[in-house]
C-alpha cells in the first residue's frame, strides 16, 4: 500500500485541501439538509462520537493499544466539564461556555498523567487487562463519591450561562451543533496532524516493532505514555461536549459498557485508516439512537456484525472502501457490479429471513402478553404459527444458498482482479 496513488501538486497538496474542505462542508451543511430536531441532536452526538472514536484510535490503530477503559477519560472529562459549567453558572469562574470542553480535556489529560503511567507500562494483552481493571476501579469509585459523581442521579447543569458574544447563548440545539462541528473539525485536524509528527510516527513504530524501537534508543513506555495523555485530552474534549449537549452527566459515562462501545465502533469503522473511526462514530450514533428504536434485538445484531467483521474483514469498513477504491483506480470496479448486486441482494434476503426469526423469538420472550402476532417491516407474522416459521426458515435457507453461489463467483472474480492488479503494479514499477 506504500504506493502513492493520488495526484500531488507542489507546493499545495490539492487532494488534501479537497478532502478537508469536503469534510468541513459536510459538517457545515448537514444541519441545513436534515432540519428535524431529531436530526440535529443526532448530528451533535455524531460529532462527539467522531472525536472520541478518533481519540480511541490513537491508541488502538496507531499505537496497537487495545484499551478497555477509554470511557474513563471521556467520562472524567464530562464530569469536570459539567462541574466547571456549574461554577460558571454560579459566577465563580469567568470562562465562556464555548471553552468548557477544553477544561474537560485538560482534566482528562491530568487524569491520564496520573493513571496512564501504570497503564502504559505494558503493551498488548496485559495493557488490555490493566485498562479494564482501571476502568472498573473508576466506575466502582463513581458510586462511592456521590459528592463528585452525583450518585445515581448524576450531575445536571444549564449551558445557557455566562457571556453571550454576538447573541450566541448555546440554548438552541443548532448553535450547540455548530460549536460541536467546530470542535470536531479542529480535533480531527489536530489528531491527523499528530499522525505526521515524529511522536506519531514513533508510536506506529512502537506498535509494529517495540524491540527495534528500544534498540534504536527510544523508551517505548514513554512514547505510549505521552500518546495516551494526548488521546485522553481529546477524549476529554468529547466528554465536555457531551456534557454541554445533554446538560447531565451520570456515572454511566465512565462504565465498562461505554468503553466497550468505543472499542466496538472504532473497530467496525476501521482502525487501520485514519478516517475509519469517523465512520465508526457515525455508525455508533445511528445504532444507539435509530437501531435500538427499531428492534429490541439490536445488541445481538451488533454482536453478530462485529463477530463477522473480525473474522472476515479485520480492517473494518474503511478497509473495505479502500480495497474497492484500489480496484476502481485500476479501472476494474465496473466488472464487479453484477457480483456486488447479487451479493447484496442475497445477503439482504438471508438477513431478512434470519431477522424475522430473531424478532419472533424476542417477541415470544419479551412481549408474551401482547399475543403471538407481530409486525415485522410491515409484514404481519405469527410467532407461534408453524407456517410462519417454516416460511422464514425456507426463505433464509434459499437466500443463504444463493448467497453462497454468488460469493463463490465473486471470490473467483476478486482473486483474478487482484492477480491482475499485482501484475500491473509490478509492470509499472519496472517502467
Amino acid at each position: 500500500m506504500g504506493q502513492r496513488n493520488y495526484y500531488e501538486f507542489k507546493p499545495h497538496n490539492v487532494g488534501r485541501w479537497v478532502v478537508w474542505g469536503a469534510f468541513g462542508l459536510i459538517l457545515a451543511v448537514a444541519p441545513l439538509l436534515f432540519t428535524s430536531s431529531l436530526a440535529h441532536t443526532m448530528l451533535s452526538q455524531m460529532g462527539i462520537a467522531i472525536i472520541v472514536c478518533l481519540s480511541y484510535n490513537m491508541l488502538l490503530g496507531q499505537g496497537g493499544m487495545l484499551s478497555f477503559g477509554h470511557a474513563v477519560y471521556s467520562g472524567m472529562g464530562a464530569f469536570f466539564a459539567i462541574h466547571v459549567l456549574n461554577l460558571v453558572g454560579k459566577g465563580h469562574w469567568p470562562i465562556p461556555v464555548s471553552l468548557v470542553p477544553i477544561a474537560g480535556g485538560l482534566a482528562s489529560a491530568a487524569f491520564a498523567v496520573l493513571l496512564g503511567y501504570v497503564t502504559t507500562k505494558k503493551a498488548a494483552t496485559p495493557f488490555a487487562m490493566i485498562t479494564l481493571g482501571i476502568g472498573e476501579l473508576v466506575w466502582a469509585s463513581s458510586l462511592m463519591f456521590p459528592e463528585f459523581f452525583g450518585g445515581e442521579g448524576g450531575i445536571s447543569s444549564n449551558r445557557v450561562v455566562g457571556a453571550k458574544p454576538f447573541g450566541i447563548t448555546f440554548g438552541p440545539q443548532i448553535q450547540l451543533y455548530y460549536l460541536i462541528a467546530v470542535y470536531t473539525f479542529a480535533c480531527t485536524a489536530l489528531m491527523f496532524a499528530f499522525t505526521r509528527t515524529p511522536l506519531g510516527r514513533m508510536l506506529n513504530a512502537v506498535r509494529d516493532n517495540p524491540e527495534r524501537v528500544e534498540f534504536v534508543g527510544y523508551d517505548t513506555q514513554k512514547v505510549r505514555y505521552i500518546s495516551f495523555i494526548i488521546a485522553a485530552f481529546f477524549a476529554g474534549i468529547s466528554g465536555g461536549l457531551a456534557a454541554l449537549n445533554f446538560e447531565i452527566v451520570t456515572s454511566e459515562v465512565v462504565s465498562a459498557p461505554r468503553s466497550g462501545a468505543y472499542l466496538l465502533f472504532t473497530f467496525l469503522g476501521g482502525a487501520t485508516f485514519f478516517f475509519g473511526p469517523i465512520l465508526g462514530g457515525v455508525l455508533m450514533v445511528l445504532a444507539f439512537v435509530l437501531l435500538s428504536e427499531y428492534t429490541k434485538a439490536w445488541l445481538l445484531y451488533l454482536g453478530l456484525v462485529f463477530l463477522f467483521m473480525v473474522m472476515y474483514a479485520p480492517g473494518g469498513i474503511a478497509s473495505l472502501i479502500m480495497m474497492n477504491l484500489r480496484v476502481a483506480s485500476f479501472g476494474r470496479l465496473k466488472q464487479l457490479w453484477v457480483s456486488y448486486l447479487a451479493l447484496f441482494v442475497t445477503a439482504f434476503l438471508a438477513l431478512l429471513g434470519a431477522a424475522a426469526m430473531i424478532e419472533m423469538v424476542y417477541h415470544l420472550q419479551l412481549n408474551a402478553a401482547l399475543g403471538p402476532k407481530l409486525q415485522f417491516l410491515g409484514v404481519p407474522l405469527d410467532a407461534k404459527g408453524v407456517d410462519t416459521w417454516f416460511g422464514a426458515v425456507f426463505f433464509m435457507l434459499t437466500a443463504v444458498a444463493l448467497f453462497e453461489l454468488a460469493r463463490r463467483h465473486f471470490s473467483r472474480q476478486w482473486g483474478e482482479i487482484h492477480e491482475h492488479i499485482e501484475k500491473e503494479m509490478k509492470r509499472r514499477e519496472a517502467l
Partner: protein, 315 residues
Amino acid sequence: MEFFTISLLNGISYGLLLFMLSSGLTLIFSMMGVLNFAHASFYMLGAYFAYTTTQWFGYWPALVIAPLLVAGLGALFEKYALRRVHKYGHVAELLLTFGLSFIILEMVQLVWGTSSVDYRVPAALSGPLFTLYGTQFPMYRGFMMLVALLMLLAMWLLLTRTRIGLVIQAALTHPDTVEALGHNVPRVFMLVFGGGCALAALAGVIGGNAFVTEPGMAATVGSVIFVVVVVGGMGSLAGAFVASLAIGVIQTFAVGIDRSLLDAAQVVGLAITPETFGYALWKLKISQVAPILPYVFLVLILIFRPKGLLGTREG
C-alpha cells in the same frame, strides 16, 4: 474471633470459586495465548444450562451435563471462529471473544429472560454443615470448596501425569515438533479451549445457585477474574490459586468491616468534621470500599511487582 473464622471460611470458599473460574482462563491463556473475554459468559451459560438441566434430570446429572455442553460450544467456537482469526494475531482473537460475550449475553436474555431464574441449592446440600460460635456454616459452601479442590487435583494430575497432559505441555512450547511427531495440535488447542470453558461452566453450576443466576452475573465476576490472572502472574496456575484466595479473603473481610478512617482518627484524637479537606475520603467505610479492592490490588501489584505474584515472565 467468630467474625474472623466465619469470614475466613466464606472468603476461602469464594476464593476457591474464583479459582475455578480463573484456572480455565489461565489454562487457555497459557496454552494458546488467547485472552478469553467471553470466559465469564461461559460461566453464566454453565449456570443457566444447569438450571434447565436440573428441572429435567435433577442436580447431580446437571453437574456433569452442563459443563460438557458448554465444553462442546467452546470447542465449536474455537474450531469455526477462533482458528480463522489466529493468523491476524492475538488482538483479533481477543476481539472475537469480546464480540462473543455480547452475543452470549443477548442469547441468554432471549432464552431465559432478563430477570433472575429460580436456580436453587439441592435439598440434600441445603442444611448447615457445622456450627461455629453459634453461627451456622452452610453445607453448600463446604461442597463448593470440595469440588474446587477436587478439580484442582484432577487438573494437576491430568497435566502432569497423563499422556494427553504431556502432549498439551509440549504443544505449548514446541508446537511444530509435536505436530511432526504425529499429534494433531489444532485439536489439542480445541480440547484445551473446550476444557477451559468446561471449568468455567462447572464454576457456574456450583456458583449459580450459591449466588444468583441472572444475565448480569457474567459482568459481576468478569473483571475480577482478569484481576486474578494479572495479580497471580499471566499464565501461572499456582499464581491464580494464590491470587484468587487472597482476593476472595480480602474482599469478604472488607465487606464485613463497618469502620472508616474517621473512626481511626477519633481513636488517635484527631478531630475531623465535614469541613475537613477530603471528608468524602475520611468517612468512607471499608465495606463501601470492598468492590474496588481487587482493582486497587491490581494497580499496586503492577507498580511493585509487574510480573504478578508467581509469574515468571513480563507481559
